[in-house]
Amino acid sequence: MSELFDLVLLALLITIALLVVRARDLLVAAIIFSGYGLGLCLLWLHRGAPDVAMAEAAVGAGVTTVLFLVAIGVTGRKEK
Amino acid sequence: MEIVDPRPLLALGISLACALLVFATGRHYGRRVLWSMGAALLKFGVVISLLPGAMAGEVYLFRLVEFPPGVGIGFRVDLMGLFFALVSSTLWIFTTIYAIGYMRGEADRAQVRFFGFFALCVAATVGIAFAENLLTLFIFYELLTVCTYPLVIHKETPAALKAGRKYLIYTLGGGGLVLLGLVLVQHAAGTLSFGQTGLLAAGAHDGPLGGGPLGGGQLGLIFAVLVLGFGVKAAVMPLHGWLPSAMVAPTPVSALLHAVAVVKAGAFGILRVIYDIFGLELLAQLNFTQALAWLAVVSIIGGSLLAWRQVNLKRRLAYSTVSQVSYILLAASLLNPTATVVAIMHLANQGFAKITMFFVAGAIEQGSGRTEINQLDGIGRQMPWSLAAFTVAALSFIGVPLLAGFLTKWLVILGALEGEAWWFAAVMVISGLLNAVYWLPVVYRAYFRPVTGVVADPGWLLRGPIIACAAFVVLLGTTAHFHLLPFSVASEAARVIWAEVAN
């Protein structure tokens, strides 16, 4: 069952990634991207790499998203 | 016998030092003249001091650096190179005197540039003459290209800039071909040094990291690439386009292009290709020189026909150079001892006659502003000395005995008949006739048409070199058997080249 979980997770990641790319609103894209980071975090945990998972959660989902949000705050949230 | 001697480097260094001094202090008229004249005389002295030893069979060597291992910059004085250097440095003296007179009216800045780059060009020419290997020759060949450019665009008019561009495109293209040939020769022979009976014939295969095999097709490629590469500067017929365009430059520059350095450098390069890189024996087995001979014939006849059509005096002179320089190639490609003598000798014959004519054309332009042939009515009576000299040079080109040009024609014909190539003998006769057809009308006009307009006195700074050069034309034609005079040097050089074959 855990392998099925893996598959579902991967499918989910792809979906989220597509959503990130498709989203017209940059703010939405950045927030979805942080969700993507959390998904990855799960994947790492599942693959037996808790240290990487923690780094991903902190850096990938956390800091990176904050940085994006700051930048979007300056540049405006609409993609033309 | 090879002797290490720094004099070749010294000859080069004098010209270089002259260029530097002119650039540094040349705004002062007196210094500019002093450096140029002093260097010209000094260099002539150094070059001629090499002559007695060289005639006695000594070869002077001086290696400077080796930068890719095995090849590098080095100098080697053999008789053929020395002959070229002598012609060039003699003509430098006359051109310097002439230029001092000719450029008097120009701005200081232009004069500094002119005399500086002129000295650099002459330095490059000595480098070509004394090059120990093909790489050194190539370096100075390219240096010559680069340093001639500022001279060609001297007037900085749109026409001059266009001519300069054309000149660069042609000669850099030629340089590229030579470079390619250089790489091919190094690969095939593993060395680039002259002074063996044919680099490629020796076929040494011990380059720094090993050479490769040598095929017949490869040899043909090397020959074609090198001959065409040098042929650009020698203004061989399909590659001659730059030469007439470059006529926009002032007269002393034309003298440099046509007599002192540039076209000669190309012809000299081809002589090196034939005698030193391939060697007489190897070429005798291959059929390449036949093709070169026909190329030369095309240039000799074609150049003359084009010259005939020109109405501008300097352009007619330019096209006649296309024709005249190819004598050297024709003679060299005949591959027999008599023709070899004339291949070398003609470097001087053509140089002195052609420089005389250019000097006269320049003096006419300076004195009266006339450039077209149909404006020259009666000028012979207004400028008797100059036009007398002009007539001597013209007669020499036509091939009148006792003048330098006769010697050329006579020996080429002899050489051609020796090799039973009577076709080429006929070409020489036809070429002489064509010369008559386009030079005699000019002389006729000058002496037998009524005088028109006034002509200012060109002054002795212009007249002196003209008369001296014309005198040389006579001298070359009449002193064939005096020791240490040009003809004996050329025949000794040819003898050395053929003696190596005999061994």
């Binding site: 990634a17 790319v21 894209a29 790499a49 780094a55 991903e56 850096v59 990176t64 930048a71 033309k80 | -």
Partner: protein
Amino acid sequence: MLPEMLLELRPNLDYAAVVVLFCIGLYAVIVKNNLIKKLLGLNIMETAVFAFIVTSGMVEGGAPPVLGPGVMPPLASPLPHALILTGIVVALATTALALALIIRIYLQHGTIEADQLRELD
């Protein structure tokens, strides 16, 4: 039925998913016009590569299937994790620098759309 087939194919599907993620990222980098979108795409590419390394190298017990019967060492060394961790840090640094640049570009030009920026030149 279907799940079992999928499970058999699972290892390959892993790689397929990684490749798909990589391509989605690349698509965004190349096609998207907005610089922030490009950067998001780059981040997705980065995670795809991390996932690939984890999948190929760190699955415990068993050689990586697509890679065939290679030499599989015991994973005593902490190096591969360090590899990814460094990768994450580098990715963060890159993103931070890129965002700084984007902000500067926006302040200078008033836009972060690639085609408009090109016209400005």
